[in-house]
Symmetry: C2
Subunit: 415 residues, 2 copies
């Protein structure tokens, strides 16, 4: 049961001018499910992306990096679920390249203008016959008129799911540089999921005009406040990817610098969308019963705030305590202590659970009563705030609790 | 149910000349259980120790560090279970000091000659009346003759338990520098345990003669092949301590350098004992059903081997796969990939599960059959070997799997 998360409604999803989407049932791993998605991008789109840092980066991630580094503007993306094409060596690379070439041929593009993405089982060969056989149906679907509804975006959100219990999609609209701007995004899956259904994928498109360099910065900036700040079990997939497409149809003066006023306005518009999608992944985390924000303030720099936040977010002891609604201060403080901030003085530590000040000066707050702690641990959404008392940096990460269901899901034999 | 671990037998435990042990029931947290232990050390003993690196080091750990740094030779140790005296601020420090002073007064020692240790609930005041009230009984017990049996060692192993399901103790005997040498050790508890029953403690005494400087090196060297190479859930307690006492009764020429021939002989004799105790902690890990050795070889240095070994040992996805006896290569390789060895070339990776070569050159071994992987994952003890193919360093860490029982234990409300 996802935590406070509902399926997106088709009519809430805004189509983005310059982006056409087609989804097909290619039977890649299972029959009768949407598993192949193409994004077709009009000329003039700028595309930025960030990828997993895992040294076992999957073949499609390697090919994406090559194609983004080439001189060719990106004009299409192809995404399959059911198979991650990871740990597949040189034949996996060849399959990812062949996928791009096949789609490029149909669209009269250069193969480097196509980005490939895969998610699903690891270490099994990509079933190329089924994947390539499904492309015509996806292109036919993409050729349907789609300028006045979110139908195709919802289909794409469904078409990239693995063990997700709900599709994840949302839209925002606002103004940038005096022009109306909209954006729609989809995402899937958290962690390394049963059975090896790896990968977090996020795709966000806006009709704002952005230079190629700024699109790349935009992807990084948005990821750093959303997809790069969530964790379910600490495991980093081989295929994680987040892509931002800017089609330019909004007609604003192209944004060259995301720190310009217009750039900042765009970041402010898109950041909540990226966060919504990232949070949806955590809310739908395996076995999650609670959605937990961990804010660390008062650090000397962002890096040490993140160290502390992740130490708490990854502690199995903290996560099981959240599952039990147990205000277990000792476990949180112990995680703060071993986070790797070597010269941390524990006398500066404060801790709040929700609105309850539970730790002051490194020890139990004199006014803290256990029943107050228990009260704030009951809800399905919990805010933990740790003050380090040594600087002005702050960071927030989001995670979920650790339940019996997590073990059940991940201890299941692969089917 | 601990994994392949039996309770120690009293007659297998060798008393160590120069060490007297007394154990009492002080009622520190629960009535009618051994919870207060004193070690009395004859003059001439050398004592070395290593402690948690957690910044939230508990009060007794802080006092131990001070006392070991003083000029006073250590002559006694006092250990309580039931309360960790951690997260207790200045009053906690005062309580740890008062404990040392009280025991020192009874023994006509300086308070800096006493080392205090605590394990149990965090952030609650140490019940000083009960602790101090129990000291006379512990001293009376220590005054009993104990030179011909392991009764007192077994009582101490019981007296330091928290959620351990079995006491942990063992002995070894051999020769160093032509003299018969023996050693006995006890240990307790793994991880940060219900309900905040924190802490791993290990105490090892040998009758070998060792200089104070070499005793300190010996504690570090032994910890680095035993207690510093085990992990249950990755959480580091506030109270972890490992102490080595060398009484000198064996009559060998005092060892000044643990890398001398006699020093190496002593390390070789004691390392298996320290490992046995450390492994016992993992075997008795919360909810453990499997005992897993993770060996990483072919690294450029020990640090990168440990990074990879711990990334695998801490991955909840790997640990749940072990629980399910699932030879899930993708999860292991993904953990290798995100371990933080930045320039790791995955083409050099080999992986063996038991005697089955499952991954070669970074991909599935051509001869690997899933049924072979399943066969080697069935037993309760599993050896995982990862080859990095880029150097000559190697390291091994030991861990256990991640079961439903772990969540049950740690999600329980504190009693």
């Amino acid at each position: 049961m996802p935590v406070e998360l509902a399926a997106p409604i088709e009519t809430d999803l805004l189509p983005i001018g310059g982006v056409r989407i087609g989804v097909a049932e290619a039977g890649i791993r299972k029959a009768n499910r949407k598993d192949l998605t193409v994004f077709l991008l009009d000329e003039g789109c700028a595309v930025g992306a960030v990828f997993t840092r895992n040294r076992y980066a999957a073949a499609p991630v390697q090919v994406c990096r090559e194609h983004l580094a080439s001189e060719q503007p990106i004009r299409a993306m192809v995404i399959n679920t059911g198979n991650a094409n990871a740990g597949t060596g040189t034949s996996g690379l060849a399959n990812a390249r062949q996928t791009c070439s096949a789609l490029a041929r149909s669209l009269n593009l250069h193969h480097e203008q196509v980005l490939p993405f895969s998610t699903g089982v690891i270490m099994e060969p990509l079933p190329m016959d089924r994947l390539l056989g499904g492309l015509p149906a996806a292109l036919t679907h993409a050729a349907q008129p789609q300028h006045d509804s979110g139908t195709h975006w919802l289909a794409a959100a469904q078409g990239i799911m693995t063990t997700d219990t709900l599709p994840k999609a949302a839209s925002v609209a606002g103004t940038v540089d005096g022009k109306p701007v909209r954006a729609t995004g989809i995402a899937k899956g958290a962690g390394m999921i049963r059975p090896n259904m790896a990968t977090m994928l996020g795709f966000l498109a806006t009709d704002a005009a952005v230079s190629p360099k700024a699109a790349s910065d935009l992807a990084r900036r948005l990821a750093d406040v959303s997809f790069n700040r969530i964790t379910v079990d600490g495991d980093t997939s081989t295929n994680d990817s987040f892509v931002v497409v800017a089609t330019g149809r909004a007609g604003n003066n192209p944004i060259e610098d995301i720190d310009s006023p217009a750039g900042k306005a765009l970041v402010s518009l898109l950041a909540p969308l990226a966060q919504h999608l990232a949070h949806a992944i955590v809310r739908d985390g395996e076995g999650a019963t609670k959605f937990i924000a961990i804010e660390v303030s008062g650090g000397r720099d962002a890096a040490e705030c993140l160290k502390v936040a992740y130490a708490v977010a990854h502690s199995p002891l903290v996560k099981t305590a959240f599952f039990a609604s147990d205000p277990n201060l000792g476990r949180i403080l112990a995680a703060v202590g071993y986070a790797g901030v070597d010269d941390l003085d524990i006398v500066g530590i404060d801790l709040w659970l929700g609105d309850v000040h539970v730790v002051a000066q490194g020890g139990r707050h004199p006014d803290y009563r256990e029943e107050d702690g228990q009260r704030v641990m009951k809800p399905s959404q919990i805010h933990v705030h740790i003050g380090l008392g040594r600087g002005n940096a702050s960071e927030t990460v989001w995670t979920c609790d650790f339940s019996h269901e997590y073990v059940t899901i991940n201890a299941d034999y692969r089917s």
